[in-house]
C-alpha cells in the first residue's frame, strides 16, 4: 500500500516536471523567443511587429521575485531567529503559552487575508508616509515578511531545541552567563538548522503569488526602488495565465517562467539538503 502511494507520488512529481519543462522549453525550441530575449528586460507581449514586439523579456520579474524573497528574509531572518531564541532560551513559559499559539495561528491564516491586510493597511500607510503610490517592493517585502515569519520561528525553535542540554550545562558550569552561552555556543551549534529555517522562508516567499500580487503594483519595472511598483514571476503568471491562449507563444513564455520558479525552488531545496548533510558530519 505504501509502495503504491510512493509510486503515485513519484509519478506525479515526474509528470509534473516533464509537463512544465516541455511547455517551458517550447518557445525556445520553436525559435519564437531566444534565450537572450527571455533574459532581457524588454517586456511587451502585446506590442505589434512595427513597434518591435512582441517582446518576452522576463528579467524584471526574475529579479523582482529574488528581491522580494531576499528582502523579506533579511527582515524575517533575524526577527524569527530572535523570537525563536526568546521562546526557547529566555522565556520558555511565555514562549509555550503565547508565542507558540500565535505562530500556529499565523501559519493557518490564508494568504489572501495577508494580501488583503497589506492592501488595506500597509499600502495606504506607505502612501501617506512616503507620498508615492504605496504599491511596490516595500509593501511586498512587508507582507511576505509577516507570512514567512512563523516558518522561520518554528524551524529555528526546533533547531535550538535540539542543541544538547549538556552544552548549556557545561557552559554555565564554567561561569558563562546566559547570553554568553547563547551567543557563543547555542547559536553556533544550531547554525545549520537556523540557516535551513531562513532558506525555507526564502523558498516560501519565492513561491507566494496571491498576497504579493495584491500589493506590489504589477508593472514591468526593475525592482530596485522600494516604493515603485514592480512584478514577480508568480504575479505575472497568475495575472496572465487565464487571459492567454493555450499554446500561444505568450502562454508558453509563462510556462518558461514557471520553469524558472521551479528550478530556483529546486536549488533552494538542494541548498537545504546540503546544509542538513553538513550538520550530520
Amino acid at each position: 500500500m505504501t509502495l503504491v502511494s510512493a509510486w503515485v507520488l513519484i509519478i506525479t512529481l515526474f509528470s509534473l516536471l516533464y509537463f512544465i519543462a516541455s511547455k517551458g522549453i517550447a518557445p525556445f525550441l520553436h525559435g519564437e523567443v531566444t534565450l537572450a530575449d527571455f533574459f532581457s528586460g524588454n517586456w511587451g507581449p502585446s506590442l505589434s511587429a512595427e513597434q518591435g514586439g512582441p517582446q518576452y523579456g522576463a528579467l524584471d520579474f526574475i529579479l523582482g521575485s529574488l528581491m522580494v524573497a531576499l528582502g523579506s528574509a533579511v527582515i524575517s531572518g533575524p526577527l524569527g531567529i530572535g523570537a525563536a531564541l526568546f521562546m526557547t532560551e529566555i522565556a520558555p513559559k511565555a514562549g509555550r503559552k503565547i508565542l507558540q499559539p500565535a505562530v500556529e495561528i499565523l501559519v493557518g491564516i490564508p494568504s489572501v487575508v495577508y494580501g488583503f491586510i497589506g492592501l488595506t493597511l500597509i499600502v495606504p500607510a506607505l502612501r501617506s508616509i512616503f507620498g508615492e503610490v504605496g504599491f511596490g517592493l516595500l509593501a511586498g517585502i512587508i507582507v511576505l515578511s509577516v507570512m514567512i515569519l512563523p516558518t522561520i520561528i518554528s524551524i529555528s525553535a526546533d533547531a535550538i531545541h535540539s542543541v544538547p542540554q549538556g552544552i548549556r550545562e557545561g557552559s554555565y558550569a564554567l561561569g558563562a552567563t546566559r547570553w554568553q552561552t547563547i551567543s557563543g555556543l547555542v547559536i553556533r551549534v544550531a547554525q545549520p538548522g537556523l540557516l535551513t529555517a531562513v532558506v525555507l522562508g526564502i523558498a516560501r516567499a519565492f513561491g507566494e503569488a496571491l498576497a504579493v500580487q495584491m500589493v506590489i503594483g504589477n508593472t514591468a519595472d526593475l525592482p530596485f526602488h522600494l516604493l515603485k511598483p514592480m512584478s514577480t514571476l508568480t504575479s505575472v503568471i497568475t495575472l496572465n495565465m487565464g487571459n492567454t491562449v493555450q499554446g500561444s507563444t505568450y502562454n508558453n513564455v509563462l510556462w518558461s517562467m514557471a520553469l524558472i520558479l521551479l528550478l530556483m525552488t529546486l536549488i533552494l531545496i538542494l541548498a537545504i539538503r546540503f546544509i542538513a548533510r553538513r550538520r550530520e558530519v
Binding site: P164, G170, S171, A173, L174, G175, T177, Q180, G184, L185
Partner: protein, 274 residues
C-alpha cells in the same frame, strides 16, 4: 572569595553529626542544614557535610538518593531548574554562597563541575579550553600557556598536542571527559565537583580518570559522585553515604569501608541492600 559579596560571616558548625571532630584539616566548603525541594519533593534533608581542603570526598548511595542534587547545590547549578528551593547554608571560607546576593557566574568560576556524560563543545580542543577564560579577558600568549598547562595536568597533552585545532568531538569518550576536566581546571577553581565522571567510560579510561583525580587533589578540593564502591575506596579520602536525601554516614574512607558505624551503611556496602 574576594569578589563575592560577603553579607555575613558564619561560625563553622562543629557539632553536626557529619563533621569529624577529630579532623584537623581546614574545611574548604561545608553545608549547614541543607534542604532541597523540587516542588513538593524533598530531595535533600538537613545535610551537614564538610569538604576538607585538598582531599577527595566520595558521595555514594543508591540511585535517586540525592547525590547529584547535593553536588549541584554547591555551585548553584540547581538555580537553573525551575521550582527548585535550596534552603540552609553553604559556607565557603565563611561566606554563605546559597544567598541571592552571590554572583553566581563568579562562584562557578571558583567551583567547577564535570558531568556524567562528556560534554565538549562543538569546537576545537583549543577553543574548548579557552572558551570560558576568554570571557574574562585573556591574552593570546596566556591562552596558549593555559591550554598546554591544562592539557598537561590532565595527561592529554601528548595525545592531542598535534591536533589542538581539530574538533573536540573527534576525541574518544575518555579523552573528551579529560578535556572537560582540563576545561574546568583552566578556570583555576578551588573546588571541582565530579558527577559520575567515569560511568560512561571503558575501564582503561576510567583508570586514567581515577589517577587524574588523585593528582588533582594536590591542587584542588574534590567531591566525586560514584556508583562504584571500589572506585570510592581507591580514590577518596572521605566518603559520604546518602540514602533517600539524608546523609547517613560521613567518615574517613578507610574507616567507613572497614568499620561503618551505621547498620544501613554496612548493608549498602556489603550489598545486603533493600
Amino acid at each position: 572569595m574576594e569578589k563575592l559579596i560577603t553579607p555575613f560571616r558564619f561560625q563553622p558548625k562543629t557539632d553536626g553529626r557529619s563533621l569529624l571532630t577529630d579532623e584537623t584539616r581546614p574545611i574548604q566548603l561545608e553545608t549547614l542544614d541543607l534542604d532541597v525541594y523540587y516542588g513538593e519533593k524533598h530531595a535533600i534533608k538537613q545535610v551537614n557535610l564538610p569538604l576538607y581542603q585538598n582531599t577527595v570526598t566520595a558521595l555514594i548511595g543508591p540511585s535517586g538518593c540525592g547525590k547529584s542534587t547535593f553536588l549541584r547545590c554547591l555551585n548553584r547549578m540547581n538555580d537553573m531548574i525551575p521550582g527548585t528551593r535550596v534552603m540552609g547554608k553553604i559556607l565557603v571560607e565563611g561566606v554563605n554562597i546559597n544567598d541571592s546576593r552571590i554572583n553566581v557566574t563568579q562562584l562557578r568560576r571558583q567551583i567547577g563541575m564535570v558531568f556524567q556524560r562528556p560534554n565538549p563543545f562543538a569546537k576545537s580542543i583549543y577553543e574548548n579550553i579557552v572558551f570560558a577564560p576568554r570571557l574574562y579577558g585573556i591574552s593570546k600568549k596566556e591562552q596558549e600557556k593555559l591550554v598546554e598547562e591544562s592539557l598537561r595536568k590532565t595527561g592529554l597533552w601528548d595525545e592531542v598536542k598535534d591536533r589542538l585545532h581539530t574538533s573536540a568531538l573527534a576525541l574518544s569518550g575518555g579523552q573528551q571527559q579529560r578535556l572537560c576536566i582540563a576545561r574546568a581546571i583552566a578556570m583555576k577553581p578551588k573546588i571541582i565537583l565530579l558527577d559520575e565522571p567515569a560511568s560512561a567510560l571503558d575501564p582503561v579510561s576510567t583508570g586514567k580518570i581515577e589517577e587524574l583525580v588523585q593528582e588533582l587533589k594536590n591542587e584542588f578540593t574534590i567531591a566525586i559522585v560514584t556508583h562504584n564502591m571500589q572506585q570510592a575506596a581507591r580514590i577518596s579520602d572521605y566518603t559520604a553515604y546518602f540514602y533517600m536525601g539524608e546523609l547517613i554516614e560521613h567518615d574517613r574512607t578507610d574507616v567507613l569501608f572497614v568499620n561503618p558505624r551505621k547498620k544501613e551503611t554496612e548493608d549498602y556496602l556489603t550489598g545486603r541492600f533493600g
